[in-house]
């Protein structure tokens, strides 16, 4: 049913195909780009010591970026990193946010006050700055970046769901359920969440994309994945100083930005398209 609807809409179909493609690449990474050193699969191999990027060749289909890192290898293994970062960060922070937000919104009062003050404290850090501060303190590395993002990502969900719950809390069916003595947690799960979760889920699916972008942004600022790690953001920042090309040819090093840039954009696009379609398909109120 769900799948049928997704397939029927050409836009979401495109997203779905993209996503399946990425899943395929992630699963078969060892076959697509066999690592030289199985112990360090996520380190992109270097083919020389120089700095200037080399254009695509039969040996290196996407070329070599700054430092002679193989772009194709980095993209293939970077797909795994992207899934890992996106899914874990969004999964964990979303569950955490929904839990806290629905408790705060539904029960209100002191609970709400305390929880929202905690949210305030966490939200008082602009996200990127918080991430920079924490990753600087914890040191570089993908896992630390993820931990940081979880710490500062859950509040969005909490606030969003709390806002929606506040808006529907007074609606008749909830009041009726309350009056008839249904347990609070049952009300939350049966009535409140189904009617409020969709904006959150839509945002969660979009956020998988933005999480990947943020991780890339941290690499751009020099506090993300370590140098040489298969991570798209890292690869864009490697190409960053070559963006303007040489004087004769402004696009001389296009492959250093275009391939990793395309990978990120398509990956995020896939999630966003699906998230958008999900919203229309899944929402029970849209069925009629």
């Amino acid at each position: 049913m769900l799948l049928k609807k997704l397939i029927k809409n050409p836009i979401s179909l495109f997203g779905l195909i993209l996503l399946i493609g990425f899943i395929f690449v992630a699963i078969f990474a060892p076959q697509i780009a066999p690592p030289n050193n199985p112990d360090q699969k996520y380190l992109i191999p270097r083919y020389g010591w120089g700095s200037t990027p080399k254009p695509p060749s039969s040996e290196h289909p996407f070329g070599l970026t700054e430092g002679q890192y193989d772009i194709f290898y980095g993209l293939v293994w970077g797909t795994r990193s992207a899934f890992w970062v996106g899914l874990v960060v969004v999964g964990v922070s979303c569950s955490l946010g929904v839990l806290i937000g629905s408790i705060a919104g539904y029960f209100g009062g002191l609970f709400d006050n305390i929880l929202m003050r905690i949210v305030d404290i966490f939200m008082s850090f602009p996200f990127l700055i918080a991430a920079v501060v924490v990753t600087t303190i914890l040191g570089p590395g993908l896992n630390k970046v993820m931990l940081t993002m979880i710490c500062f990502y859950w509040m969005d969900y909490a606030r969003l769901i709390r806002g929606s719950i506040l808006a529907i809390k007074e609606e008749e069916y909830i009041l009726a359920a309350k009056a008839s003595g249904v347990k609070d947690w049952l009300i939350i799960i049966r009535h409140v969440l189904p009617n409020t979760i969709f904006p959150v889920l839509v945002q969660a699916s979009m956020n998988i994309g933005s999480v990947v972008i943020t991780a890339a942004g941290l690499s751009f600022l020099g506090v993300g994945a370590p140098v040489g790690y298969a991570d798209w953001g890292q690869m864009i920042s490697m190409g960053r100083n070559w963006l303007l090309g040489t004087p004769e040819n402004h696009l001389a090093y296009w492959y250093t930005i275009v391939y990793p840039g395309l990978a990120i954009v398509l990956f995020v696009l896939a999630w966003n398209l699906i998230g958008d379609a999900f919203r229309d398909v899944l929402d029970p109120k849209m069925q009629s």
């Binding site: 270097r46 020389g48 010591w49 120089g50 700095s51 200037t52 700054e66 430092g67 600087t136 040191g139 570089p140 020099g222 370590p226 140098v227 960053r240 100083n241 070559w242 963006l243 303007l244 090309g245 040489t246 004087p247 004769e248």
Partner: protein, 602 residues
């Protein structure tokens, strides 16, 4: 629809204004865009970094200056002639040096330069002696100590200068007062010992010996010049120091604005300069980290010159209207250092911390054969050709090839798998070869040159024996600093930027037991240095004849080779990139900034 039209109108308006290309820089303006955060401080008693030195270079003068690119020849600047034994301004024993001051020179505020300004400038720098400042360079030749604190302690004033007896403090002043004597327009320095590079220390490019106005400094809250009060100003922090943000010199440019937020320094021509006034009315020094931005600014004419790191050189070559001066020699060099006594406790970089194939023991690099194995595993050719893009040369020791007393004939190590294997087989009586080892080389993240150097070592060493495992890890500078200080680094890279062009300024940091690098290389290295190198270094600076000095420094370089103490990676070169209409550039290995802006014109 109405909204759309309004929007469109605004857009058209904006675009038309955007297209009015305002003339970028005119004939009387010079804009140089460099990297970093800009000057640290403008107080000459503390300024020690290139960005600060660059500004002070343009605003102030010294007694002497270098003859253009030639660092071996000095010319008079504020002095009337260069002191020498021949003209009688240097005594035969080399301990007395005299300068005659030029007349009719005015500071930017209009007051006249006198000998007492010279005396005050130098004495103030030495007395204030803030931590991290350059004043050891003055203190060493003049008083024979490295810090004022050391002197106070020698005089019996205890460890804390601020708590020392008033008599001791007075004594310190008196010593300085007797060492620098003014007589009308003459300044006489009485040195502790003969000190070959003393004139270099007094020459333009040395911000610690620039001359500022005494009255102006006192008016702005600096030390009042009295013998008993200086301790109030002793070792202040940067922002407390009186001259932190202000400047008043005799130089060709006046400081107009130091805008720390916009990261720029604006200088204005000094029309009353005692030589011909400069060609530029306005000079702007900007600091932008992003290379792409700097490059576009140059292309668009918003900048007259930019800093270009070697690895981006390709991007600025062959642009019409842009000049690239290639292969500019410098006196900076880079080396790799072995830690002879690694702290293995809780240290991720040494694996198990034992000689069991899964780590390295604390004294890993105390074994000369291990060091030799590493040295024979570094590929200089690949490093210089690919990483340094041929803009570097292979050093023969810690003295850069361009420096007097470097020995071009000194034997060096080079990539040699057979010899490396032989050395590793001898290490730890053959145990190492049998069991293998595992270690990590860390470098400060962002420094791709050092990363690659480490990876070259890794590639060649792990090829020798499958049991040899070397990892290369990027750590943040803060972490590396922590590791260095606590002795946890295994092998690390550092560069040296000289203070003055003399062999002594290289031999000391590299080879002296109390030198900059020894502190991070472990006790065994310090002991080795104290017994073998320290005496030679002391002889080297006190010797007065060139031949004698050459002999001593040859010996030091030979010992460094035999003992395989350090991996001398490269003598560095740089490039200078500027608009072709800019004339008057000359390279200099000692100048803190890229340009002598006074000599430039369009």
């Amino acid at each position: 629809m109405k909204l759309n039209k309004l929007f469109l109108a605004v857009l058209v308006c904006l675009l038309s204004f955007s297209m009015l290309s305002f003339a970028a820089t005119d004939k009387e303006t010079f804009v140089f865009v460099s990297i970093g955060a800009g000057p640290d401080t403008l107080d000459p008693a503390l300024a020690y970094d290139n960005a600060s030195g660059e500004v002070l270079f343009e605003v102030y003068d010294n007694l002497l200056e270098y003859d253009g690119s030639n660092t071996a020849k000095l010319l008079p600047m504020l002095a009337t002639e260069v002191p020498s034994v021949e003209n009688g301004l240097i005594s035969k024993d080399g301990k007395t040096v005299k300068f005659n001051l030029r007349k009719d020179i005015k500071f930017h505020d209009g007051t006249a330069l006198t000998a007492s300004d010279v005396k005050y400038s130098l004495i103030r720098n030495m007395l204030l002696d803030p931590d991290g400042g350059p004043n050891w360079m003055l203190l060493e030749p003049i008083l024979g100590v490295n810090t004022i604190q050391e002197l106070v302690q020698d005089l019996g004033g205890g460890e804390d200068v601020t708590k020392a007896d008033a008599k001791v403090l007075r004594q310190v002043y008196d010593l300085l007062d007797k060492a620098i004597i003014t007589n009308a327009n003459q300044i006489t320095f009485k040195l502790k010992t003969a000190y070959a590079p003393f004139l270099n220390i007094m020459a333009h490019s040395s911000s610690w010996s620039i001359i500022y106005s005494k009255d102006w400094a006192i008016k702005n809250g600096a030390w009042d010049g009295k013998p008993d009060t200086w301790v109030k100003w002793y070792n202040q922090s940067k922002e407390q120091m009186a001259l932190f943000e202000r400047a008043n010199g005799t130089g060709p440019f006046k400081l107009k604005v130091w805008d720390k937020n916009a990261r720029k320094v604006v200088l204005e021509r000094n029309d009353n300069y005692w030589r011909k006034p400069a060609a530029f009315k306005t000079v702007e020094l900007q600091y932008i980290d992003e290379f792409s931005t700097r490059k576009v600014m140059l292309q668009k004419g918003d900048a007259d010159a930019i800093y270009v790191p070697l690895n981006y050189l390709d991007q600025v070559q062959n642009i019409p209207g842009i000049t690239v001066i290639d292969h500019v020699p410098t006196l900076t060099n880079t080396a790799g250092f072995f830690n002879f006594n690694i702290d293995v406790k809780g240290n991720d970089d040494v694996g198990s911390g034992k000689l069991d194939g899964n780590g390295i023991p604390s004294d890993f690099f105390s074994d000369i054969n291990v060091r030799k194995g590493f040295l024979y595993s570094f590929d200089w050719d690949a490093f210089i050709k690919e990483v340094m893009m041929d803009r570097a040369s292979k050093p023969t020791g810690c003295l850069p090839g361009a420096l007097p007393f470097a020995n071009p004939k000194q034997e060096t190590y080079s990539l040699n798998a057979a010899k490396a294997t032989e050395a590793f087989k001898k290490a730890f009586d053959g145990e190492l070869w049998k069991k293998g080892f595992k270690m990590t080389i860390s470098y400060n993240s962002g420094n791709t040159m050092r990363q690659t150097a480490a990876e070259i070592l890794q590639y060649n060493i792990t090829k020798l024996n499958p049991k040899f495992k070397v990892e290369v890890r990027a750590v943040q500078w803060a972490t590396l600093l922590d590791n260095l200080r606590s002795g946890r680094t295994t092998f690390f890279f550092m560069g040296w930027i000289p203070d003055f062009p003399d062999a002594h300024n290289f031999a000391t940091p590299y080879m002296h037991s109390t030198g900059t690098f020894a502190g991070y290389c472990g006790e065994s290295m310090q002991k080795l240095a104290a017994s073998k190198y320290d005496p030679l270094i002391a002889k080297g600076i006190a010797a007065t004849s060139e031949a004698e000095r050459q002999e001593i420094y040859n010996q030091l370089q030979k010992l460094a080779y035999e003992d395989a103490i350090q991996l001398y990676m490269s003598d560095n070169e740089v490039v200078r990139v500027f608009k072709s209409e800019l004339k008057g550039f000359y390279p200099s290995a000692v100048r803190p900034g890229e340009y002598d802006i006074y000599k430039l014109y369009k």
